[in-house]
Amino acid sequence: MGMLLGGGLFASALSFFYPVLRYLVPPRLTDMGGDTVVAGKVGELRPNSGKIFRFGSRPGLLMLGSDGQYRALSATCTHLSCTVQYRGDLRQVWCACHNGMYDLAGRNLSGPPPRPLEQYDVHVRGDEIIVSRRREA
């Protein structure tokens, strides 16, 4: 009886502590909440290039201009929701689906996109590039 009880208590303790241990394992995600995300590391991007990062459930576009300035925009095209990309040769943001063009501030320049891309704020903290959603004034 003692062994049975001990075994049962051990199994119960295991079932209590296992989820706790799993919880303590650092998560893979770098999302810091709904409005802020670590979009990359300093030095990761060459000047005049860009990369897609995950911002919540949508893609974002982080760009490092030739002037050394970081910029970030929503990467979801306002036409049919394709993912846009940075075109170093044009120094513009381009949607490969229907040839939509935006400038680095996200303004729709040509092609079918009806609206600008949402602009995000970019801050460099240590070696991390932090992108945050702009708050309404």
């Binding site: 009886m1 049975l4 009880l5 049962g8 208590l9 199994a11 119960s12 295991l14 079932s15 209590f16 296992y18 995950r54 919540g56 459930s57 949508r58 893609p59 049919l80 929701s81 394709c82 993912t83 490969a96 689906c97 229907h98 040839n99 040509s110 092609g111 079918p112 009806p114 609206r115």
Partner: protein, 413 residues
């Protein structure tokens, strides 16, 4: 302090000028507000007119002297012109609107080529030939309550243009002498362009003037239809230009885009338009056994395969999500597969199966991965459920064992 005083002085000046203007007698409106029909014009109505807001008066177009209250207001000596005949309207409007030096004082960015463009249009040519039914400036822009095109109440605001054109072009009786169709507006209202403009509020979506021009309104000819569409649909036009359809359509005298997509009633393109089914537009020209027929079938099959694969991935990810699993990363990746599907639908305009396959394959690679991740999420869910079940069994087991243990202690006492 000085700034505040200056602002105050400007404010007083504006009020004084406004009052002075309001007190200026306008015998035209005094009488015409009491008249009926076409001659009825009220001060409230004319005050909305952009010309009135810029300081122009009735006399600017009709001549006369509104400050007089007797018959001399409408005398020849006062330059009274009276009602402007339809034939004279474009020239009268053009007398100011074609003069860059005059217009610069009101709006330097306003174009001044409207009258010269009008003269090249079907409307202008017919009007010059003596046709008094065709549109002149006031038919589209209105008269006496004329607003700038950026005003949503303007007859030429993008949201209102189609209705403005339809006042003549959808009137079968009015258009009977011209022997042209009058179903354009009805068709346009069913189109994807109308939906984008009116329902989704996308003011860049095309309306009549986007394709036909405004002051130089002329129907685009067979040779230039593709150019009109390509102003927005750039990729499709580039692919079409390089495709075998370009030469084939030209030799058959068929217009580019509208042969498959129609013109005013362009509906949202669907995959059913492709392939060899009864709804396909490919089979209008291609028959079983020819290369185009085969390519159409292949392209349709590939696109349909990718779409099915996306739906399958989406379903398993939704199932995982509704079970409380975190699958936002594969969801994000699945968007890339949707991009590939959109690209494949554009690539269809090469009318060759091989380039479409390249887009479809890149999408299928993503859907295979995301489906696997969805399966993994469901396995993790099952693993957690099993773990929960086992822990519950262990707890129940401990409770039962404790109960038996207590009973045994009680029995021994």
């Amino acid at each position: 302090m000085w700034r505040n005083r200056s602002l105050g002085a400007i404010f007083v000046l504006i009020i004084t000028v406004a009052l002075a203007q309001a007190q200026q007698p306008n015998s035209c409106v005094d009488c015409h507000s009491a008249l009926e029909g076409e001659l009825h014009v009220t001060q409230e109505q004319f005050a909305q007119d952009i010309h009135a807001q810029k300081g122009l008066t009735c006399a600017s177009c009709h001549g006369g002297d509104p400050s007089k209250t007797d018959d001399s207001a409408m005398s020849k000596a006062a330059g009274f012109k009276g009602k402007i005949e339809r034939a004279g309207v474009p020239k009268l409007c053009g007398s100011c609107h074609s003069d860059p030096a005059f217009m610069r004082q009101y709006n330097p960015s306003l174009r001044t080529d409207q009258f010269s463009q009008y003269q090249t249009s079907i409307h202008g040519k017919r009007q010059a030939a003596g046709d008094t039914k065709v549109a002149v400036c006031t038919d589209c822009h209105g008269v006496h309550d004329l607003r700038p095109a950026s005003d949503t109440r303007s007859k030429v605001h993008p949201l209102n243009i189609a209705t403005t054109c339809s006042r003549c072009h959808a009137d079968a009786e009015y258009m009977a002498t011209y022997k042209i169709p009058t179903n354009q507006f009805a068709d346009y209202k069913t189109s994807v362009h109308h939906e984008a403009l009116v329902e989704r509020g996308d003011l860049s979506a095309p309306t009549c003037t986007t394709c036909h021009g405004n002051h130089g309104a002329t129907p685009p000819g067979v040779g230039s239809v593709a150019n009109v569409c390509s102003t927005c649909h750039v990729f499709q036009a580039q692919l079409f230009e390089a495709s075998p359809h370009k030469a084939a359509f030209a030799s058959a005298g068929l217009p580019g885009c509208v042969t498959c997509h129609s013109n005013h009633g362009i509906s949202k393109p669907s995959d059913a338009m492709l392939g060899t089914s009864a709804h396909s537009v490919c089979t209008n020209c291609h028959t079983q056994g020819d290369a185009g027929y085969k390519a159409a079938g292949d392209m349709q099959q590939q696109i349909s395969g990718l779409e099915t694969s996306i739906v399958r991935s989406d379903r398993i990810l939704s199932q995982a999500e509704s079970s409380g699993m975190e699958v936002s990363q594969p969801r994000l990746e699945l968007d890339q597969a949707r991009d590939a599907l959109t690209k494949a639908r554009v690539t269809v305009h090469t009318f060759a199966a091989h380039p479409v396959r390249a887009d479809v394959d890149s999408g299928l690679k993503i859907t295979t991965k995301t489906y696997g991740e969805g399966e993994g999420a469901l396995r993790e869910r099952d693993y957690r459920r099993t773990g929960l079940g086992m822990s519950l069994v262990a707890i129940v087991f401990v409770v039962v064992a404790l109960r038996l243990y207590i009973k045994e202690i009680e029995k021994n006492q």
